[in-house]
Subunit: 203 residues, 2 copies
Amino acid sequence: MNQGYKAITGSVSRLISELGKLPGIGPRSAQRLAYYLLRANEEDVYNLANAITAIKTGTRLCSICYNIADEEKCPVCTSKTRENSIICVVEQPQDILALEHVGIFKGVYHVLHGAISPSEGVGTDNIRIKELVDRVEQGNISELIIATNPTTEGETTALYLYRLISPMGIHVTRLARGLPFGTEIEYADDVTLSRALEGRQDF
Amino acid sequence: MNQGYKAITGSVSRLISELGKLPGIGPRSAQRLAYYLLRANEEDVYNLANAITAIKTGTRLCSICYNIADEEKCPVCTSKTRENSIICVVEQPQDILALEHVGIFKGVYHVLHGAISPSEGVGTDNIRIKELVDRVEQGNISELIIATNPTTEGETTALYLYRLISPMGIHVTRLARGLPFGTEIEYADDVTLSRALEGRQDF
């Protein structure tokens, strides 16, 4: 709270304060947004407020894949054009948005809602691994693509899932690790470079 | 709307779309904010939605200075420690926040809600100039500090106000124009540099 706030009226300083709690919104952005909303037309402002409220009142987790859903099932699980035998396992619902943006995956998802992290007290029971095993046990799964983050936690989770599920006779794969597009080898970090070497691919 | 959106549920894509309409919030930021709100605790989310709604339902213009107010008068006009005889004239309510942040001005304000701009059809009757003249005519004003923006519109407005109000026997001043702090003369633009020369000050 900077000292200018005592001179502005309560509802404006409250809005600046609430907007400033959002990630990536600094005090200056919060001020600019607040004054923008003050001038914006009423309908736009109410639409925004209602969309924010609806995210809490109107959503639940998909009963199949645990993605965010408005109904019992999410749009992917409801779709008749998706290949239900291929499951892509992600850590968070927003990972689905990134993968769907690419547009080449035509299977379905499973959202773990986290990754195994002993240091943060997240064990195998705290994320939706049991639910994934249940889906696999119900049969009809040909491939499980593990798309956890390339971090310590994500890779621990990937390895755990591989050891748990591949003995069930399921083909378990993971996203390729290597050099990201548009970077220069000169500046690649050691881990990325060693993985790119180890995972070298034929043309 | 990118193609990933059709795979995510309605309330999430609506929120991303509404957030994406805000100035300075790109598609990526809108996504990140939406998923942040999904995980955020309910009270924080409702507080944000309510603060946004309140900016429309709970505010009006101060009956004295036309700053944003929750009550009939804004916090500055209500304050007993401000010097009512010195009025600082600004274009927009958010300019008050910037000036209050500096903390050295102890007078009161007058918000024009715009600047004269013939090209955009904003004339002297479209901004709150008459209301300013009324305040000056009611007496007890010793100085009027014009703090319009250093733009063509702001300076046109400043000059108009000077010619209108100084014949009424009021001391009319304006914010100094010159080199901004932290810049280098080498890179200063011609207009800024010529004003810094013309307005050169004694030590």
